[in-house]
């Protein structure tokens, strides 16, 4: 290990240090009491500081050629950069949107922020891994905090149930992933992703890769590994749901990017078909199931499943076009999904989460800005112009067409049309008159800034996508 190696992982180190600082601060403020007493924003400020430091460290590093460190384990290239950006955006927004909720529902702030930061670091490691061992550890680092976060509301049975469910199914999926790593290693004699491309084409390799897909597909909530998503999304405390809904996708798709278009281009015909089939099933099932939901958390869970299907189009199409579309979509998804959850986080119905669609009624009258942000995010999730969701889907479908996967693009477009119904239903309820009197809106400057940032991202990426498009296209240049 050298200083160069250390400077490569500087953003991850900043996050880990901030996580430890948040824990220690909490312990210091709490003293010997059983439950954390520091519900003030101290932990949030520390976490935000960590995220900003990581962003800064990411920014000062020149976007040059790929740099490999830690004996070939870790690579910092364009893809790493964009994945880091997406993960840090998720963490930053997640931190900014949660304080009012944490305070109201008495969640332990120190643990919450520490776990959030470490999970983010896990997703970043996945995006930078050049070795299956590191990919696996990144996956674990990403998902383990999410299991805990899902169960963090100790007084809520549903939260406990969600955590346990997520843990058990997640452990199962992880076992598949490890088994896949073992099989791939057995077939190719290496866990190094950069050398996997020269592996002999034996059935064992295919079996191993299929197992890897199960592990990553679980985290990304792809059909048929999505069954956990609605229950866990619904049961988990809402800030955890919001954060998990984006960070898990960022990590899982970063892993899929590293695995398929990058490491195994020679097997493209085989896995392209498989992934395309999964993508079609995911899009159809996710969107149809979302139609019937009256709980916004469940609705967004199925919406998350559907979006996983869209993003998978990019992976299945492969090549630079598909990969850059995936990266772009991840950035957009972070902004629009967290924007939507951020508005829900401000609401409260009689001491509970306001997570029914009708709770949103009359939002325009009481919190016009929040209602507008929610509407913008819903429009973006539905993929309508002038928002970012439109551009992102456009890139994906274009990549599919370039790869002559017309069916994929067609199913994507059709299901998007279906999705317009349920997204706009939420938006129209929020913008309608009428009032759900039991629902209170809390105001928080911290969350307000977060919402503004998310909304700005959704509009900016939709109206002037040039800069970010250039960034993601530069990121995948090495794939050509």
């Amino acid at each position: 290990m050298t200083w160069a190696d250390l400077s490569l992982i500087a953003p991850e180190l900043a996050l880990a240090a901030a996580a430890c600082a948040a824990l220690l601060q909490d312990a210091w403020a709490t003293g010997p009491a059983l439950e954390s007493r520091s519900r003030g924003p101290a932990a949030a400020w520390i976490a935000l500081g960590g995220v900003c430091a990581a962003l800064l460290l990411l920014g000062v590093r020149p976007a040059g050629a790929a740099q490999v460190g830690f004996a070939g384990m870790y690579v910092r290239d364009g893809i790493t950069r964009v994945v880091d950006l997406a993960a840090l955006a998720a963490a930053g927004l997640g931190v900014m949107l949660s304080p009012p909720y944490l305070e109201r529902f008495r969640l332990p702030a120190g643990e919450y922020h520490a776990l959030l930061l470490l999970s983010t670091a896990g997703a970043m490691l996945m995006g930078a891994s050049r070795n299956l061992v590191l990919l696996f550890l990144g996956l674990e680092m990403l998902s383990f905090p999410l299991y805990v976060l899902a169960a963090l509301a100790r007084r809520s049975r549903r939260s406990q149930e969600a955590g346990l469910k997520y843990l058990l199914l997640g452990a199962f999926a992880t076992a598949f992933f490890v088994y896949g790593v073992a099989l791939v290693y057995g077939a190719s004699g290496t866990a190094d992703l950069s050398r996997l491309g020269r592996a002999p084409d034996v059935p064992l390799l295919h079996a191993g890769v299929a197992f890897l897909v199960i592990g990553l597909g679980f985290e990304a909530a792809l059909v048929p590994f999505h069954a956990w998503a609605p229950d866990v999304y619904e049961g988990a405390p809402m800030p955890a749901t919001a954060f998990m809904s984006v960070i898990a996708k960022v990590g899982a798709f970063a892993g899929l990017l590293r695995l398929f278009p990058q490491a195994l281009p020679q097997l493209a015909p085989a896995w392209g078909q498989m992934l395309a089939a999964i993508a079609v099933a995911t899009m159809i099932l996710g969107n149809l199931a979302a139609l019937a939901q009256s709980n916004v958390k469940r609705l967004l869970a199925y919406s998350g499943v559907a979006h996983a299907g869209y993003i998978l189009i990019g992976i299945a199409s492969g090549g630079p076009a598909g990969s850059s579309a995936v990266l772009y979509y991840l950035l957009v998804y972070v902004a629009m999904n967290l924007g939507a959850f951020g508005v829900l986080l401000l609401l409260e119905r009689r001491g509970e989460e306001a997570d029914r669609v009708e709770d949103l009624a009359g939002l325009l009258g009481r919190a016009p800005w929040a209602a507008v942000v929610l509407a913008a995010c819903m429009v973006s999730l539905a993929g309508l112009p002038p928002t970012a969701g439109f551009i992102a889907k456009l890139y994906l479908f274009r990549a599919a067409l370039q790869d002559h996967r017309v069916a994929l693009a067609l199913v994507g477009a059709l299901t998007s049309v279906v999705s317009v119904y349920y997204y706009l239903r939420v938006a129209s309820v929020a913008l309608s008159a009428g009032a759900a009197d039991a629902v209170a809106v809390r105001h928080s400057r911290f969350a307000g800034v977060g919402l503004a940032l998310a909304a700005a991202g959704v509009l900016w990426l939709g109206i002037v996508p040039g800069a970010i498009t250039a960034l993601v296209q530069q990121a995948v240049q090495a794939l050509r």
Partner: protein, 185 residues
């Protein structure tokens, strides 16, 4: 000699695996698991990984399964028997599925016909493992340490005693919270 030993440990490990699933009492399941782990430790020895073999015994057999046994005994004080949930799959069906899976694996593995080269001198010793851990595998090693930190934070966050809601005074000890997930792992 090695093949014979491997045969014995393989049969023992498989028997243990079946025992874990089939045993009626949880404690017997845990003991069968112990058998699996010890057989694997011998397998590691056959693979010239003596340090890993010792760790397998110390960590898995000596700590983790002991904790399993512990929890089982604390939960079912009365001779370790608990309510038995109905199996989701009929036994015969499960057996057939396992057999099919095994056959599929065999067929897959049949494509690989390479014998590994004999290990280099010093392979599997603690010096060798140490060099690998703090050299080539440094980053995964440190990531694993972060993972353990996460596990601890999670266990504490989910396992510590809660004050009853709305009661500001540190009340009497509550019943332990239902299944801290991180603890179960």
């Amino acid at each position: 000699m090695e093949a014979v030993l491997f045969g014995i440990t393989a049969v023992l490990a498989l028997a243990g695996g079946v025992g874990v699933v089939a045993a009626r009492q949880p404690v017997h399941s845990a003991l069968a698991l112990l058998l699996v782990l010890l057989s694997l430790a011998v397998d590691y020895l056959l693979l010239a990984a003596q340090f890993i073999a010792a760790l397998q015994v110390i960590v898995y057999a000596g700590a983790i399964v002991v904790l399993f046994v512990f929890i089982i005994m604390l939960l079912h004080t009365r001779s370790g028997e608990g309510p038995r949930a109905g199996a989701g799959l009929p036994r015969a069906g499960a057996g057939v599925l396992c057999g099919l899976f095994g056959l599929a694996l065999l067929a897959l593995a049949a494509g690989v016909r390479e014998t590994a080269p004999p290990p280099a001198p010093g392979f599997g010793t603690i010096q060798d493992v140490g060099r690998a851990l703090f050299g080539r595998y440094l980053l995964p090693f440190e990531a694993a340490s972060a993972l353990l930190l996460i596990g601890m934070v999670g266990a504490v966050a989910l396992g510590k005693r809660l004050r009853p809601a709305g009661d500001p005074s540190p009340g009497r000890p509550q019943a332990p919270p239902a299944g801290g997930p991180a603890r179960a792992r």
